[in-house]
Subunit: 360 residues, 2 copies
């Protein structure tokens, strides 16, 4: 069987070269006589793998030296709890609410202190990122929390809020490594790996040292303390070794293909093909506000739910999968992360045109 175009919002497509290398090394990684899955995390072989992964990630994002890079578990969902547990020291934070993911973060953070929603995209169905220039941040906020790319609605911050001296924490799960960013603007960036980076089960955290130097209000159990992971190079306990290895292969793939500048160029080109078509279609309508569009998750719908269903049914003959919108908003969604080739986007638009012509 041939490989298909998979428009899943995550877990999502991975580069074919990465999967091929993983397959070829499954029985024996570099003459070690074992799979990476079988390696002791305390072995020199594995230490080299995680060290290279970190070094390559630092190169890709140009991460300053005063940031720690951690490879953890539990996804964004566990981070929603760990961040307030670790970094709420006065007990008050500011959050920009842009959808389901920030709402979940808010719910967990409220267990540990006061959460002030300083801007809210909910009144207009999260189709836009709230106006950033008009936000008044509270000076006593332990941190400002945001989610950069909102998979469900297909929105993305067009720029970053000016938080002054406040610590800005960014959930970048679904846009991580899709373009260059200035890490120094953030006190912490984190991302679940299962969109642009690797398999589900790895959470990458990039945390500035002054944030780690804070003393939590309550003593934390070992796994939930970012400091313990930082002091032990993500090896306090057994890390998700195989997942980190795949992430490392993806980092090498990105470096070998022009790094994040080139990725941004390709991602913009891919998204433009879809958005240009959507902006002129008579039956497909984009969902997210034009000024806040995601390059990763393109949300749209047809003229009716019935037509959406017909579109999904017709997509099967081209073996396009996972084009259904998130259950909370309905409609259609094409997630076109780093590993989605431009041919996949072109093929999708060709099908959309064919579908449109048949329905005019």
């Amino acid at each position: 069987m041939s490989r298909i175009f998979n428009f899943s919002a995550g877990p999502a497509m991975l580069p074919e070269e990465v999967l091929q290398q993983a397959a070829s090394e499954m029985m024996d990684k570099d003459g070690s006589g074992m799979s990476v899955m079988e390696m002791s995390h305390r072995s020199k072989f594995y230490q080299k793998i995680i060290d290279e992964a970190e070094a390559d990630l630092r190169k890709l994002l140009n991460i300053p030296e005063n940031y720690k890079v951690l490879f953890l578990q539990g996804g964004a969902t566990l981070a929603f709890a760990m961040i307030p547990m670790n970094f709420m020291v006065n007990g008050k934070i500011d959050v920009i609410n842009t959808g389901v993911w920030t709402k979940k973060a808010i719910k967990d953070a409220k267990l540990y202190g006061e959460v002030r929603v300083v801007a809210d995209g909910e009144p207009n169905g999260f189709k836009t990122i709230p106006d950033l220039d008009s936000i008044k941040f509270n000076k006593d906020a332990d941190y400002v929390y945001m989610c950069d790319n909102n998979t469900i609605y297909g929105t993305k911050y067009p720029k970053y809020p000016n938080v002054g001296d406040l610590a800005l924490i960014n959930d970048m799960s679904s846009c991580f490594l899709s373009e260059p960013i200035d890490v120094s603007k953030f006190a912490m960036i984190y991302a679940g790996a299962q969109k642009n980076v690797g398999p589900a089960g790895v959470t990458i955290c990039i945390i500035r040292e002054d944030l780690l130097a804070r003393t939590p209000r309550n003593p934390l159990p070992a796994y939930l303390d970012y400091r313990i992971h930082a002091e032990n190079g993500s090896m306090y306990n057994t890390p998700p070794t195989y997942g980190i290895y795949i992430c490392g292969l993806v980092f090498k793939w990105l470096l070998a293909h022009g790094g994040l500048e080139e990725r941004k160029r390709v991602n913009e080109e891919k998204a433009k093909i879809l958005y240009d078509y959507l902006d002129h279609s008579k039956i497909f309508k984009p969902y997210a506000d034009k000024a806040n569009r995601s390059l990763m998750n393109v949300t749209f719908r047809t003229l009716s739910e019935e037509m959406d269903a017909e579109f999904l049914e017709g997509a099967k003959k081209y073996r396009f999968t996972n084009l259904k919108g998130h259950r909370s908003v309905g409609g259609l969604r094409a997630s076109i992360y780093n590993a989605m080739p431009i041919e996949g986007v072109k093929a999708l638009v060709a099908y959309m045109k064919e579908f449109e012509e048949a329905h005019l």
Copy 2:
């Protein structure tokens, strides 16, 4: 290069057939056109994988219907925190201390209530499991906590304590699926996958429903609440999809090779070869007490630290790896989990004999 005998305490060897299947399916799982790593966890394809994994595990362990099976993240280290957070309702627990892993669990549990060490193996260097018949459990204990197999010292419970009506929680990380057990004796069993079951990054929890029906003393964030995972079939958030798939392949491998009765027979045979030799050797000395020996982790040492080092150096010519004891106790250790073939044990003993003859 050829595959080697890897005596790592975990992550550890996996069955060759499992790795071969994983490699062969890496580009396309069952005609889906994608790797399991790329599958949406909300897809029918993936649902089938996790459903089969659970069904096969239930078959292997004969898990009663009033137990939930969860596939989570964070390893035993996160469970050390989650268990008291979820199940300490009156705030007092009893723990049998058998080494580093129960000590870590005790440390985290103390953040949430009173921990009474009702039996302690520390005075004799954790070489024995404390006498179980003489333990007086406290009737007000929310649960009794134990660790079944202690990788570092090579000890294993020879039988289970009689806790009456109390809830017994068992960390089986390093002996899970090595032999049949009566699940109904426990309120909860859990295990990190990276010993007998799969790659690091999957924690399997088997929890009785009455335990899940308890109300935590404090509201819990979503990821740390076992109930939320149980209500959502381990899919509240994105689970470690690829790791669960590999666990599922291992379950099928176990079922195809006689299940846990046969595994017990083979594991006993493998361990006997090593222990019989150790019991008669003039230079190799077993570490764990004879009555409490682990079938999974065989701990021993030579006459001196220098000789231990020489033994490890000499092991390289046979490509035996990870025979060094845990840094907290030193010496030597051969971990011989399910996937270690009997040939590996025989080859190791052949080398030990050769080494002994050269040093008599």
